[in-house]
Amino acid sequence: MSNQPILFKNARLIDPGSDREVRGGVLVRDGIIQDLGPQLKEAADTQVIDCGGQVLAPGLIDMRAFIGEPGGPYRETLKSAGEAAAAGGVTTVVSMPDTSPALDDPAVIDFIVRRARDTSMVNIRPAAALTKGLQGAEMAEIGRLKEAGAIAFTDGARPVTNAQVMRRALTYARDFDALIIHHVEDPDLVGQGVMNEGEFASRLGLPGIPREAETVMLERDIRLVRLTGGRYHAAMISCADSAEIVRTAKARGLPVTCGVSINHLALNENDIGDYRTFLKLSPPLRHEDDRQAMIEALADGTIDVIVSDHNPQDVENKRLPFAEAADGAVGLETLLSAALRLVHSDRISLPRLLRALSTKPAEILGLPGGRLAVGAPADLIVFDPDAPYVLDKRQLKSLSKNTPFDEARLEGQVTITMVAGRVVFQRETM
């Protein structure tokens, strides 16, 4: 961290938490925001960055990314994920425990924390396994893992099917004020399914996944939250009924939050088109009506956060018949651009969108970021929300290129990413 103060000037300052938007600048010193507003003066020893009227906002906090370290460094390392995140304006990444070995041991969490500190240019906060070996049978050492630096507890892409295990985990986690994040998909109802159940799947001759695979599990979880009082976050919902379930739970005052992946906001099942495996996801892309319901639920606050669900897969796992291909898409670098589509189509305001990408995740995770305020960490992004570009997957910094947005026209791109007062990414065109 350089000790020289940095002044961002001539920016549109957006503090998503307070819905405030003002013209002005931000002064950063010692890794935190020291001052901000319209009246900042340039001091002699200050490095000045002219934002040229672009937006300056808190860095994005992505609550769901799969990283291949340890165990799959060819897919993604902490270093490459950090580079991808920085290029996408993501300053904090919550990494999933689905690694090899799984992140179910305090020593492994400690390793990730240190390794990330040494190699990654953004903050990486590991989520630890909720159950040992992600097997869904025995709860992991929630207390010790939290002490080692685990930010939340989840079995990543795997659901915990045993309701008793989930009940006890929610009960136990409450004592440690630990957050449980759950992938809500009943594997028995998913069965052999590979895409959304319905007309389109039938046309493609692919086995479908009913929405009930999600809603049944989500309903069960909500009942257990009501029983236990544990803090619960549904990792991603994908259909209209799920939004309704969460809405009702929140109205009852339950400690429930939920996320949606950027893919389910930007795409629907028709985008699978001619068996495009990069759009094979879990949960699957749904009907356009569901996508619309996700956008509405995001706008009305039912959905708290947007995640990239960044899931790097190499070509060997994707260049396969659709049903045999691995689930997942990379998303760290396109998260903001794809999300801005909702702003450009007037579905949601920019501050509201940024809230779901920074302020809300920070609140849920108990992190100090996600705010543009004096004393907040200087995890910042500068972006031009209107800059048009066509995505070329070869330009992605991620080691895996399985993006569903290849050759898509996008608007809005990060120009500067700062983490803890240090500029970690600067686009050359600026």
Binding site: E138, G143, R144, R168, Y172
Partner: protein, 315 residues
């Protein structure tokens, strides 16, 4: 010479602490104090139960409790018979009743029963003519343990009323905890329960017990720290993630004991899991009453048997 049985105790059985009045409890403790003196003499033999037959019927193995009852009975002059019943051979209520009826025909005076099922001792008591002492039924009650704990506390602190007692560990599965909670509350102690939420019986807070999930908070200003045994099969991710994690957050070591009052005393019903719920230095340390509890066990059981003597059949 026969020691005259004193008619201080208005119950035919001792099935639980529930149902005993503070006066009943106090009378038993006073009687037990006298038995401590008897047990410390060279001549330990009394004649209160001379000619009487005491059957120790243990459906669950327990060296400690069974030998304590055996010694207590023998010191009072009773003929004591130990019946080991493998818990595998008796599985159904019907068999339990058959066993009770068969034993009853042998005209015993006292049956001391331990059973793995809550309520089994009550069921048996309904089918026999003699007095029945509950030596532990499932996760329900273990009244003589609570009485010996109370005696130990009273002898060391001079009172029970007004003391803050923290009962820590596997409350959910513990009959010791239940009996102690009822007794201590009845005698005017302030009872706290300290455990991870997975080991706290649901709804217990509504019964008026303060619950804590942190040892630091639960032990603050406690006079007595009562630890409970955690069964091995409950430490592997079902109720508690691991032994390591349990000891880190709920195991009583000197550091956690320091949250309690400086003169706080430590108890454990045994058998202990050293390094799981209690560290060796605390278990063997100056604040530990654990060995004294065992001595008080014999005295309390003598007191209970003697108190029941006036109600025995076969007059």
């Amino acid at each position: 010479m026969t020691d005259a049985p004193r008619s201080v105790f208005p119950h035919r059985h001792l099935l639980g602490i529930e149902g005993l009045s503070p006066l009943d409890i106090q009378a038993l403790l006073d009687l037990a104090d006298e038995q401590v003196e008897v047990s410390r003499q060279v001549e330990k033999r009394k004649t209160t139960l001379r000619g009487r037959t005491q059957i120790n019927l243990f459906f669950e193995a327990s060296t400690r409790t069974q030998s304590s009852f055996e010694i207590a009975g023998k010191r009072l002059g009773a003929d004591v018979m130990n019946m080991q019943v493998g818990s595998s051979s008796v599985k159904k209520g019907e068999t339990l009743i058959d066993t009770a009826v068969t034993l009853n025909a042998m005209r015993p005076d006292i049956i001391v029963v331990r059973h793995h099922a809550a309520g089994a001792v009550h069921l048996l008591a309904q089918k026999v003519d003699c007095s029945v002492v509950n030596a532990g039924d499932g996760a329900h009650e273990h009244p003589t343990q609570a009485l010996l704990d109370a005696l130990t506390i009273r002898r060391n602190k001079g009172r029970i009323e007004g003391l803050t007692v923290a009962i820590c560990g596997d409350i959910l599965h513990s009959r010791v905890a239940r009996s102690n909670m009822i007794l201590l509350a009845a005698m005017g102690a302030r009872v706290r329960l300290v455990a991870p939420s997975t080991l706290i019986p649901p709804g217990i807070a509504r019964l008026g017990f303060e619950t804590f999930t942190s040892m630091e908070k639960g032990l603050r200003d406690a006079d007595i720290v009562m630890m409970l045994r955690l069964q091995r099969e409950r430490m592997n991710g079902s109720f508690v993630p691991s032994v390591k994690e349990y000891f880190r957050f709920y195991g009583l070591d000197q550091e956690k004991l320091n949250f309690a009052k400086p003169d706080a005393l430590v108890m454990h019903p045994g058998p202990m899991n050293r390094g799981v719920e209690i560290s060796s230095d605390v278990a063997d340390g100056e604040q530990s009453l654990i060995r004294e509890q065992v001595e008080m066990g014999v005295a309390v059981r003598m007191a209970v048997l003697e108190a029941l003597a006036s109600h025995l059949p076969n007059r």
